[in-house]
Amino acid sequence: MKPRIAIFDLTDCEGCEVQILNSKFIDKILENVEFLNFRLGQKINRWEGFDVAFIEGVALTSHELELLKKIREHSKFVVALGSCACFGGIAAINNFMDLEEAKKYVYGENADKIESLYVKPISEIIKVDFMIRGCPIVPEDFERVVSDILAGRIPREHTRPVCMDCKSRGNPCQLLKGNVCLGPVSYGGCNAPCPSAGMPCDGCRGPLEMPEMIAELELLKKVAQQDDIIRLFRRYAPMVTPFKEVAGGKL
């Protein structure tokens, strides 16, 4: 029997799902798995019996919280898809700001009619078996995880920092140019698109297991103001230690 896959998205940009469709092997994936639930891709969807559920986005409403719990109940293996699901993603910036003021700024006098929760990585709400990092994910990671699952293997994490990807692409180093780059403390495996495009790494794949944070912060302080450093950590992975400690600092 083909593995029965579900792809769910909560509040987010759906960029990670688009990356799935961008996979070079999308035709192979379509042939080898059965999508039980994939709202973006099909009309008829089922609500139980998932071998693997991929969950993208964050829960911003109580309805989305309920949905998360329900998905967990009906899935054997749950994968957090992308930095929103893994680390709170870009919406988690609001955790460090005044949410009521934010609502008023956007919705004016109707602010109280808008429900919005504190943003958490989904692993703080339900048990997550594996994370596919990145904002957006790279299609190769999705392919790897699906083929591991097809072969009955538990997928594995990348363990190298972005700097290794950067070196293998022969990029000039952004830190040496005086730009704030989170490459040394962030999970690689993305093939370093940001430094390769002439921009520093924003750490979208989250902190390495044992990052050299003290050394990194020392370096960053030489090239940037405290405020800019804090804001940088409040980007795509602000709800996970040790990035969270810097992100929660006072501006």
């Binding site: 909560l10 509040t11 987010d12 940009c13 759906e14 960029g15 799902e17 688009v18 990356q19 469709l21 961008n22 999308i26 035709d27 379509l30 042939e31 059965e34 999508f35 994939f38 709202r39 973006l40 891709g41 099909q42 009309k43 008829i44 969807n45 609500w47 829960a59 911003l60 409403t61 309805h63 989305e64 949905l67 870009i90 919406a91 609001n94 700001m97 949410l99 003021e101 934010a102 609502k103 700024y105 956007v106 919705y107 004016g108 109707n110 009619k113 808008i114 429900e115 919005s116 904002c135 957006p136 698109p193 940001c194 495009a197 002439g198 921009m199 924003d202 800019d228 804001r231 501006l251």
Partner: protein, 416 residues
């Protein structure tokens, strides 16, 4: 089960609520449930050069228009005048985005309605050639964005003043070659969609697009409509009003209290004379007639646009393959408020920012194509359902969803 009430095969979470009493449609509501991420609020305090990358996260389906609209608005606010080369590269990436995005919408999201299949897997097993064509066109569109912007989903290096790293002339030759290889697929896409049967329905409405006086709409211009609107985009607040409705996280836009339509159908209705030659010939030699007041024809307009924008990418890349050169990025010369406007695949997109003298964002307002279309969708739904009132409820539901999908809505964008 309560969850699957959401309309499938659209970007984001929304449902259509309608009520019929004694053979009369008494209520239609477009309920958009996607959570609000408050982008406009949290951008305040950020440096201007951080914004284009961050706002692309509003939508992973159409990140390029958000990115380019933001840079244009920030440049307007900071008094930065960019080179013609920069504008050409932006027109190129926006056009390439239309290819990948229209292909995704037309084949994966919309065509199942017309072909009577359940979705992507079903489509692949019954019409593998269509899916393969879609994959090929999308990958070519994506690769061009990747070459110029550093990545297809969430471009990296496009910032106020231009690009952190410029592509090369060889890159441009590669893009020309890539796009020439899909020209035929784009034409076949038009032929495929020209031969589908669209529900019979018409409702005269206002069509809005941008006009730079020269190009088929894509990057910058005035706001123009078929009902005589012709305004500087900086004055958009005088014309486009946002209304809050308690059942929706997305705001509803109106002009003079009524709905209006943005997107491919609006662009073709208003500017079909500016289409590139192959697209223009194709339209003239077909049975298809524009301007059209049938909102389902938005899909047909998108298919025609794929030909036009592919020609556009080739035209620009051919020119840059000869004259692309390194240049300095101009810097901030003033502070204040600026407005940017581009055509996203789904229609007119407006970003407005206030930037202080240190280049820090102090205010932001974003008006998104799907937000612009919401009122018109409700008005169309009301008319469509009223017209078909004697049909069984299941069929009404199907028609309503098909209409909603034909607009190519993006709900993550509309709530942002």
């Amino acid at each position: 089960m309560i969850y699957d009430e959401f309309v499938t095969q659209i970007e984001g979470h929304g449902r259509i609520h309608f009520e019929i009493v004694n053979d009369k449609v008494v209520e239609v509501r477009l309920e958009i449930h996607e959570g609000s991420r408050f982008f406009e609020s949290f951008l305040r305090g950020r440096r201007a050069d951080e914004v284009p990358q961050m706002v692309s996260r509003i939508c992973g389906v159409c990140p390029v228009p958000h990115n380019h609209c933001a840079v244009q608005a920030l440049e307007d606010a900071m008094g930065i005048e960019v080179s013609e080369q920069t504008r050409m590269l932006r027109r190129l990436t926006l056009s390439a985005e239309m290819i990948h995005d229209h292909a995704l919408h037309l084949y994966i999201l919309a065509s199942p309605d017309y072909l009577g299949v359940n979705g992507i897997t079903d489509l692949y097993s019954k019409f593998p050639d269509l899916v393969k064509r879609c994959i090929k066109m999308r990958s070519v569109g994506n690769r061009a964005i990747e070459i110029v912007g550093g990545r297809a989903v969430h471009p990296i290096n496009s910032i106020p003043g231009g690009f952190a790293k410029l592509p090369t002339r060889a890159d441009m030759r590669r893009i020309v070659k890539d796009f020439k290889s899909i020209m035929n697929d784009c034409i076949e896409t038009f032929n495929t969609f020209a031969n589908l049967k669209y529900p019979e329905f018409e409702r005269a409405t206002e069509y809005l697009a941008i006009d730079d006086g020269k190009h088929f709409p894509v990057y910058a211009g005035r706001l123009v409509s078929n009902r005589g609107l012709n305004a500087d985009v900086r004055a958009y607040r005088n014309y486009i009003k946002e209304v809050f409705k308690p059942y929706s996280n997305s705001k509803f836009c109106v002009i003079d209290g009524h709905g209006f339509h943005v997107g491919a159908i609006a662009r073709i209705n208003l500017f079909k004379d500016r289409l590139n030659p192959i697209a223009k010939d194709l339209l003239e030699s077909s049975q298809v007639k524009f301007p059209s007041d049938n909102p389902f024809h938005n899909n047909l307009a998108q298919a025609l646009e794929m030909v036009h924008y592919a020609e556009e990418v080739i035209r620009i890349a051919e020119e840059l393959a000869v004259k692309l050169k390194d240049e300095e990025r101009p810097k901030q010369t003033k502070d204040g408020t600026g407005v940017g406007v581009v055509e996203a695949p789904r229609g007119v997109l407006i970003h407005e920012y206030t930037v202080d003298k240190n280049g820090i964002i102090r205010g932001a307002n974003l008006i998104i194509p799907t937000g612009m279309n919401t009122t018109n969708i409700e008005e169309d739904l009301y008319a469509l359902l009223s017209m078909n009132i004697d049909k069984p409820k299941e069929e009404l539901k199907k028609l309503a969803e098909q209409l909603f999908r034909a607009y190519d809505p993006c709900l993550s964008c509309s709530t942002h």
